[in-house]
Amino acid sequence: MPSLSAIICVFRVHLARLRAEAGPFLLAAIVFPVAMYLFANAVHGAAADDLRQRFLAGSIVFSLSLTAISWLGYLLLENRFTGRLKLFATLPLAPSSYVFGILLFGVAQAILGISVLITLARLLGVQMHPGLLPLSATVILTMLCFCGLSVIVAARARSFSEGSLMTDTLGAGLVLVAPVYYSPDAIPHSVRLVSQWLPTSLAAHAAQAALVGNYSLPDLIALAFMAVVSLSIGFKFMQFREN
């Protein structure tokens, strides 16, 4: 069972490195999603409010995906392949505490990125009434689900470069393949069937609803289910002991 004090310790260890590596952290969480939001807006010209809300929701999901899959995946891989995981393995620490500590670090970073995105969207005149609770539920469930994916990749990768390529591909690919920045009608029927059930699609629906203060329960329930499945598999693979 994970312990709160151990989770906070893992979080603090990773937070401490933020001081020296703030640039890449901010780049991952803020610059890419903001750029994608501005790009999507620019491509559609003077878009309607609901379309701009979709772009904003899409950018929030993109930010979460980059943070939880690409960046946290990178940290997990780095810890594993530089021998830092071995250091954690010497401690009376549950592997789940280690993962949740890193996840907490990712959530803190995601909150920063999403705050910047919402502030920017307000400055650009997007009409919205975000609900704190629906948005928090969306962010946490999406992060849990994505984090599970990055744990699986980090635990199974045979090398740092293989794992890094996988997390980068998943981080950006899952957003761009899903109907997040465009309408589902724009993709072929066979792909649509799959892409609508991607966690990024569900998260984008849930985020769009949260931006006007609503809960999208079916999406949140599906995300919760995916989070349980991905984390369960991730914890099974993430062991401090070799066989």
Partner: protein, 316 residues
């Protein structure tokens, strides 16, 4: 005591009480990797409370595999382990609460400052903020890292980083220290500083199990020495007991006319001197046999890092 999943436990019933009477109790430990390599082949070992035991063996002998099983990092294929009566196979976290572990290789967080690194990791061991600060301060002082405490770990030398790794194991005064080649890569001064720290811990009642491929380290530091070769524990005992196994306790070393290194053993000092005179050896070394000679006697091969010397060496 509970045994490993794949254990066939044939120990007598009274061993359950014995496991609690010693700090570390190992029976029939076998580790077979997936490729069929048998790194440990049925190791038995008892380590008493407050004892310092060195595991000596050349690279690839199975020292690290053995220690990794004790520290719960590697699941044994067969056998049982008990640490203060706790089974580390089934209760790894409980066992790790009793241990300070230094792996042979591990990565540090390079952007953290040395003191900060130690303080943060002390918190993992259940110390509160004040205790963590005190423990980190003590360790920094003991390991002579005061001048480096506010430097980033990434800016420290290899030896200083190794001392930080040792320091991480010492945090929180664990009753058992398991150190895998703690002084490898350290300069002589740092090595002596580490020896001194380990001795102080033992004097305070700590049990220490360390692996080394430095014979001098095993000789100078240990209460008992366990010699491991090709996955088997081939001898265990005090230095005196191991040396007593040698029937001929004086070693004469010289080079012959073909420049081969010749090693010859004698029961008495005078015999060796007489031999050197009779054969008119111009230059030789005559010393009391050491642990290295015990190793040679037991395994038939030399425990040396100097491969070229090894190649030319002949035993007479």
């Amino acid at each position: 005591m509970i045994t490993a999943e794949r254990t066939i436990d044939s120990r007598p019933k009274d061993t359950a009480s014995r496991t609690k009477a010693v700090a570390l109790f190992v029976r029939g430990l076998v580790k077979r990797y997936r490729d069929g390599t048998e790194a440990n082949r049925g190791i038995d070992l008892d380590v008493q409370f407050g004892e310092l035991l060195s595991i000596l063996g050349p690279n690839g002998a199975g020292k690290t595999t053995f220690l990794r099983q004790i520290t719960t990092e590697l699941l044994p294929t067969r056998g049982s382990i008990s640490i203060f009566g706790i089974d580390p196979i089934n209760s790894p976290r409980e066992a790790k609460r009793k241990m300070g572990i230094m792996p042979q290789e591990a990565g540090l967080f390079e952007t953290l400052r040395a003191r900060e690194h130690l303080e943060l990791f002390a918190r993992f061991k259940g110390l509160n903020r004040a205790q963590a600060r005190r423990s980190a301060g003590d360790v920094i002082h003991e390991l002579e890292l005061d001048a480096e405490s506010s430097k980033r770990v990434g800016d420290l030398s290899g030896g200083q980083r190794r001392r930080i790794l040792i320091g991480l194991a010492l945090l929180g005064d664990p009753p058992l220290l398991v150190l895998d080649e703690p002084t490898t890569g350290l300069d002589p001064n740092s090595r002596r500083a580490v020896w001194s720290v380990i001795r102080k811990r033992v004097a305070r009642g700590c049990t220490v199990v360390l692996s080394t491929h430095y014979i001098e380290e095993a000789e100078r530091l240990s209460d008992r020495i366990a010699i491991i070769d090709e996955g088997r524990m081939i001898a265990t005992g005090t230095l005196e007991a191991l040396l007593a196994r040698l029937k001929q306790s004086y070693r004469l070393t010289y080079r012959n006319s073909a420049d081969e290194l010749i090693v010859r053993y004698f029961g008495k000092f005078a015999e060796a001197q007489r031999y050197a005179c009779e054969w008119q050896i111009p230059e030789y070394s005559l010393v009391r046999a050491s642990l290295e000679d015990v190793y040679f006697e037991l395994t038939g091969h030399r425990f040396t890092e100097n491969e070229s010397a090894k190649e030319n060496e002949c035993r007479v």
